[in-house]
Symmetry: C2
Subunit: 594 residues, 2 copies
């Protein structure tokens, strides 16, 4: 098993050279106070140390041991508690948290890099702080001052954790169906919560002294469906006004799931039996509140795919450089050795470069989306704030689904590079496939992301935001004056043009026949993802070309990988265009004969 | 977890309606003696019972329990021994075996269907008899009469099993590197074998009283590399001339691997320490001998992908019909229920129909290839025999790699249909993903299959066999007179035309620059697979259209699935053409910067 190294140089390249995030931070007072390039570099280094030295070493052992459930108590695998304590003491849970309540108020563009390190090092571990962070976003945005003051500092510090209790046995994708009940105790927003939630990541564990469950439930006279759902904080242990722990609440973990992967992450069945809960915000707005948090969570899960892929890529490169098998077809490269390394084989390079081109485009794209989240949250220019918010809405489903679909494919390729050893547990590559797989499913399946993208964010929006983004890309490409990049520029512009036309066509078709939405959605999202990745590769290429004079090989490798992307990966769009155009007719079948 | 049902009607359709295999059997005396439609139908039914009732129920429990290793002894999971005994007593191990030595001499076209049932029911289990059958093919083709008379009846009856000992720690894909030594004891073909083999499927277990290991080894004065490798039978327990068991041979199982999947299949490290071995055929021809067997084994492994996919498809359809979530976009379909079933969603249908269109094309293709194996083995017409043998050579790598790549993709889709439940072990879908994954790796990785196809079977052959196959397809399509199928005919002919031109281009390019082989191989194989699948769908469609008058819905569903294939799957070829054309330039990178 190769050692995991945080790709710090690639992160610096993305953050400071390609996107110059530090310049954006300096233009926004709230960020300028806390974030500059130097601080960010130092923080990235600290986080990398933690990821490499404390968290990555627990990845294999955590997979083997798994989380334990015993009579309602959940124990995380050996070392997790110590690593979480170290992580929490470093202040990382509160990194992007509200500074008024003990967070560090750092930009998400920085947080996204830390997320990637964590998922790449150990996806199971990463989920514990990630769910905490997610819960704080929802609390910060919608809870009362009292609840914020009580819960945020405790969760930011890692003393307590958070969880999201949404899914019920009969209500997964369709949250409008949930049945968990909330009965008011008093007019102060106190309720008794009763119901069963399933698939609750970090619903119960031993990493913190308390867990703040964010629970979706329904009061008795609430409107039916999605409009009658409210959000509650339900603590595992009841607390007084100062946050001192009192008696346990009526919350129990009924069991944990035995899963394909992320085995060290406890996926819990949670039973609420007249548990005390505290209303967040207003009644019946629960689903809308969850969506605030979801843009952050969905980007984070996209980054899980990216991180697993990066980890697999690193190991695959190391293995291909070390493992000897066969000889170069153009003549033996190392006659003294019993065979040449795998690197001499074009097909192995094809796999590695496919992985690399998708991973580095993914890193750029996740950073780009994180910067939109920052602009939407922090910008003082209302127009820029609104534009960024519309970008976040449009791009979040792409980031979640495309990064996880590609991340999974990348881990499968990284397993293939290892041949038979890729299938053996001790080599680690197969775990990454299993761990990456869940990211395509949870936090809204990738099919749901695709429906959200094409339905809500393109059709319903009449492609307005897409138009703004398209103009941004065209403007950027038009500004490139490079012989080297000219063919990629033409390729992207031509595809973008077809993509815009297709989007317009689809809007008409879907309004006419709603079935066309589901028939086109997944392929449309992939098309979008490949276009954005091409945009990212052009952004990276422009910078790389400018720096060729001072190059030690790093910038040339970016240009090489860009060439690979445009030659070998971007053509995937051809088939997607054709498939989407064929429409929904092929789905009109007699399902009795399926 | 849905119950597994052998798709008997689909098998009958493929075997007897589309390919009319029974007619071919009647034209070949050796087959006519044993195989007619009625017998085949009865055997399929018997095998289906066994697969459904005895073998499938052990799939989940076998995955949970896994194979055990204890001080050299390997125990299979509970129930495996009884199921193997039932399977062996039914005569299934010797189904396609040589009748002169106790086999049933049945055609591979029938055997392929039983293989599919077995892999679909329980891939781990299927590998035990499969390795036995594989070893008998090599023994039957190349060993002396004495060895054949001693080993074949025992293995056909299941009293003994077989294994293939090829891979060594430093020699996987590149078998020319193997170091296991063979020292002659006498002139009678007895040798002492010393060396270590890894990744040996069914190398040790408790299902039979003896195991005949087929071992690749090298005598001391053998030529270097692939031309100095010989094949030996090394029994686990020494035997006398009548097959009575004597003392144990010096063969030990050092450990078994902990793997991603096929956990009930023992993957062994085998140590040979001056173990007695018997030369098969002539010295230094071992690799060539293994290739005889490999065409059968590779088709069989292709069928593993197909079987896992079919099992996943069945469960996904059952789940989609049962699970309720959301409402149809064109209006609620079942107002009395709390939600509509998953089937109302176009995206779910897209997944199911993608699975179905690939699985049924795969079943037809594996049957088509099996019939070529039968013609190559049994035909009395030397020209037909030679043509069939050349088809086998050309199509085997496609069958192995395309069926396993598609099989894996199908299981991943089948997992996605289940949403979160797809990730939970008890639902079974995730096991199929893990079990299918190995089939892309072992028996020659799919990258190796692609090199074999494009290098040996197309370039080296100057596309002669491909030309013959192309003419067969064109002739078949030209003979179709159907308005309904006309668009598919045009689509296939146009693609076939481009494919032929591409093949010719590639031959020139690869002769000029051998790196172009590895750069194009995998995508070329996929292109080939999609073309063959389109051919299969046209073959099925022609029959289905003829039978529409007597239809109960079955034939219409074939036509619907064909439409889906041509609308939504076949367009994948567009991107493959473009990617392949870009050539190897994108792989010329400085690998220090990977």
């Amino acid at each position: 098993m190769a050692e995991f190294n945080v790709p710090l140089r690639s992160i610096h390249f993305t953050l400071f050279e390609v996107f110059e995030a530090h310049k954006m931070w300096q233009g926004i007072p709230k960020l300028a106070e806390v974030a500059d390039r130097e601080t960010a570099v130092a923080m990235l280094e600290e986080a990398a140390k933690l990821a490499e030295q404390e968290i990555a070493p627990l990845n294999r052992s955590g997979d083997e041991e798994g989380a334990h459930w015993d009579n309602g108590e959940v124990t995380t695998p050996a070392g997790f508690k110590e690593a979480f304590t170290a992580y929490a003491e470093g202040g990382w849970v509160g990194l992007t948290g509200n500074a008024e309540y003990g967070g560090f108020g750092m930009p998400k563009a920085l947080g996204a890099q830390i997320d990637e390190m964590l998922y790449a090092a150990n996806s199971s571990f990463a989920l514990y702080p990630n769910l905490s962070t997610g819960s704080t976003v929802a609390i910060d945005a919608h809870a009362s001052e009292t609840l914020k003051a009580l819960y945020l500092p405790k969760i930011y510090s890692g003393e307590w954790c958070g969880s999201m209790c949404l899914t019920e046995p009969h209500a997964g994708t369709d949250l409008g169906l949930i049945r968990t009940k909330a009965e008011p105790i008093d007019a102060e927003g106190q309720y008794l919560i009763t119901g069963t939630k399933i698939f609750i990541t970090a619903g119960e564990h031993d990493l913190a002294s308390n867990i703040a469950h964010l629970v979706l439930a329904r009061v008795s006279d609430a409107p039916k469906g999605a409009k009658g759902i409210s959000l509650f904080i339900v603590p595992k242990i009841n607390v007084d006004e100062s946050g001192n722990l009192l008696e346990p609440n009526n919350v129990t973990c009924g069991s944990i799931e035995h899963k394909m992967g992320i085995k060290a992450s406890a996926t819990c069945v949670m039973n609420f039996d007249e548990a005390k809960g505290y209303l967040v915000g207003e009644l019946n707005k629960g689903l809308a509140y969850m969506f605030t948090m979801m843009n952050y969570e969905r980007l984070s899960i996209g980054i899980q795919g990216l991180g697993c892929g990066d980890s697999s890529l690193q190991s695959a490169i190391a293995y291909a450089k070390d493992r000897r098998q066969g000889r170069s077809v153009t003549g033996t490269e190392e006659p003294a050795a019993y065979a040449d390394t795998l690197l001499v084989h074009a097909d192995v390079r094809r796999m590695l470069l496919t992985m690399k081109s998708l991973t580095e485009a993914g890193r750029a794209f996740s950073t780009y989306v994180a910067m939109q989240l920052d602009a939407a949250k922090f910008s003082q220019d209302p127009e820029e704030k609104a534009r960024a918010a519309s970008y976040v809405a449009l791009l979040t489903p792409v980031a979640k689904a495309f990064l996880t679909d590609m991340g999974f494919d990348v881990t499968v390729l990284g397993q293939q590079v290892f041949g038979g050893h890729g299938y053996i547990r001790e080599w680690g590559q197969e775990q990454l496939v299993r761990d990456a797989r869940i990211a395509q499913i949870y936090e809204g399946t990738n099919g749901i992301q695709a429906h959200d993208l094409l339905g809500r964010k393109v059709v319903f929006d009449k492609a307005e935001t897409l138009g703004v983004l398209t103009r941004e890309i065209v403007e950027f490409v038009d500004g490139i004056n490079s012989v080297l990049l000219a063919p990629y520029c033409s390729q992207l512009l031509a595809t973008l043009d077809r993509f815009s036309m297709l989007s317009d066509e689809l809007i008409v078709k879907i309004v006419d026949n709603p079935k066309e939405l589901g028939a086109a959605a997944v392929e449309y999202l992939h098309l979008f993802g490949y276009v954005m990745s091409a945009y990212m590769w052009l952004k990276m290429s422009v910078v790389a070309e400018q720096k060729l004079a001072e190059d030690d090989g790093f910038y040339q490798s970016k240009l090489d990988t860009a060439k690979f992307y445009f030659d070998r990966v971007f053509p995937r769009t051809e088939s997607l265009f054709e498939t989407i155009r064929s429409g929904s007719a092929a789905m009109d079948v007699d399902t009795d004969w399926l």
